[in-house]
Symmetry: C2
Subunit: 355 residues, 2 copies
């Protein structure tokens, strides 16, 4: 095991522990036993996960000279609450049934209603409860961040980045909705969605938060590194996500095969396919993309077209190039040697993952 792989294990362990402790502390505060299902749902949603966002934050902190501080793990772990909130709301918005191979939050609350044979619409109850669960985790992410125990000067320096990241996340998700509704689905628009929807808040901003927390200042070299390394890895991260959404193994992704096709996601993969597709291929893609009833044979047909047009190979090539750019950008950044190695490893892990 390499040093940074061992470090990633430590990060996961510490992040898991902080999240568990934080959520447990909420339980008695609430004062009414009936809200227990909200807490349990939050706990299950927060268990597991790759913890890549906390890892980028951690290595930003270490890279700018921060030492192994338990408070940093707490601050970094709060990013997982933000992400969990976004996923719960995302599943409501996309009407997705599954998340990591388990029922999505709104389906889970819907099942609670159905099993108990309560009044009214079980579906509406499930959606309402999931919206509230997402709100709770969104609120908690801010609370955990501020209450991490990091020095006030660090938190003050990073506050503007933290605020901006959260506003940007919501706007990025709105852009994604717009792109599905009336996007041109060009390379440019697909790239912009990849960057705003996920790239920036998955890689660039967590890294920036760690760097600024340790440096207590948003120095120009920090922005340069985040823009170069962060955006390259962020876009490649999202491109990998797009490929997994079409070609991923359900046993590993926990999502049905070809789910993104059924949801009509306008990704780079689709943009590249349409750009070089024959009229017949283009018609087949346009006619079935976004069809909620798309079956396994339909998914296979679309996969075949995406592969035949060379779009899959082209996207893999893009990921490779972005990764190379990212690794180059690390060469001259004034960060610690240990962080340089770890960030290189993380870039590879984030862009070659299978889940």
């Amino acid at each position: 095991m390499t040093t940074s792989a061992a470090a990633l294990d430590t990060i996961r362990f510490e992040v898991d522990r902080s999240l568990k402790e934080f959520v447990e502390r909420q339980r008695p505060q609430l004062g009414v036993p009936e809200v227990a299902p909200l807490i349990s749902a939050a706990e299950e949603f927060l268990a597991g996960g790759k913890r890549l966002r906390p890892a980028f934050c951690y290595w930003g902190w270490r890279g700018a000279g921060g030492d192994d501080d338990p408070a940093l793990f707490t601050a970094a772990a709060s990013l997982e609450l933000l992400q969990a909130s976004a996923l719960v709301h995302d599943d409501v918005m996309d009407a997705s049934d599954l998340r990591r191979g388990m029922p999505s939050a709104h389906r889970r609350f819907q099942a609670l209603h159905e099993k108990a044979d309560w009044h009214g619409s079980a579906e509406q109850f499930g959606e309402g409860a999931a919206i509230l669960l997402g709100n709770l985790m969104l609120i908690w992410s801010g609370e955990m961040w501020r209450g991490s125990g990091l020095p006030p000067a660090s938190l003050a320096a990073a506050q503007q980045v933290h605020d901006h990241m959260r506003t940007e996340l919501m706007c990025g998700q709105y852009l994604d909705l717009l792109e599905q509704a009336h996007g041109e689905n060009t390379f440019d628009s697909a790239l912009r969605v990849a960057l705003f929807k996920s790239g920036r808040y998955s890689v660039e901003q967590p890294l920036r938060l760690g760097l600024v927390l340790a440096a207590r200042d948003r120095a120009p070299w920090i922005d340069r590194l985040c823009e170069e390394y962060g955006r390259s890895v962020g876009i490649a991260f999202q491109l990998r996500d797009d490929i997994l959404g079409v070609f991923g193994d359900p046993a590993e992704t926990g999502k049905p095969a070809g789910d993104d096709l059924r949801e009509g996601k306008r990704t780079m993969l689709v943009a590249r396919t349409l750009a070089v597709a024959s009229p017949a291929q283009a018609e087949a893609v346009r006619g079935t993309l976004g069809d909620p009833a798309l079956d396994a044979a339909g998914v296979d047909r679309l996969r075949q077209i995406i592969a035949e047009t060379g779009a899959l190979v082209a996207c893999e090539e893009m990921i490779k190039n972005y990764l190379e750019d990212a690794l180059t950008s690390l060469d001259h950044a004034p960060i610690t040697e240990e962080a340089r190695v770890a960030l290189a490893d993380l870039a590879v892990a984030a862009t070659s993952r299978r889940t």
Copy 2:
């Protein structure tokens, strides 16, 4: 015009101004012109409103010796962002078409989709965009609060109250969902929902925030006043809301007549009706409450039963008693004389309103 009525006008003016400035500052930050509809929707949602929550916060602050500080208006105004967020999400959860006489946020975004003839489900787009709008306003409420310019010692003293209020709001809304789904609809359960869902975060917590911000300490007398005055006014406030939801004039409430009946809200009004209804009346209530297709004649029938059983008079009596308790609790609180008068006036305004 009394002094405190004039003060309420000033509070409204300052709160409006702070909200407008805050949201305008977000606009250029976002960097992408397509998100403009989110900003516009936020602005329209934030315009108007009774500003009762900021007023309770303001008079808490003045009552504990705080002076006229523009930063306090900004902090108090942030409570309106929290409230707007809750209303936008509430309308999604209840599938409500109207809010203050205008289309609710999700219907507004749905109309944007329909008018432009975009792909996919306009309803799903509308709901997704409204969830994101609510999230944005939830995030902004915390950002505006922290960035108000109040002294760090004040904000630090009030932080725990602020955090708790937001968690409590989400849990209260979940309790409300549960009560509609399988509530016993007893006096006790109706009272608990009134308190958790709205009473605490509309009156008790805004008042507590103002007091603690000024005192920079959560003194026992503060908690006593908030529990006595805040809870009494809070419950009466929600009981008034329940009556308006059934008997309110649509021209004033901006909601269709009897909307709460159609949504099946399990209020004190309904609990009191069922407690003394004849078997035939009880059957009529149980059979139509929560029926989305309930027409004007059906609403009239239910209103008649609620009046005949004496439930309406009983609820008005409860409001009167809670109001008296609230006014009594002000007598011996160690607050400024000016605040005592203003809080008495506010209690009357909050519980006798027609919208």
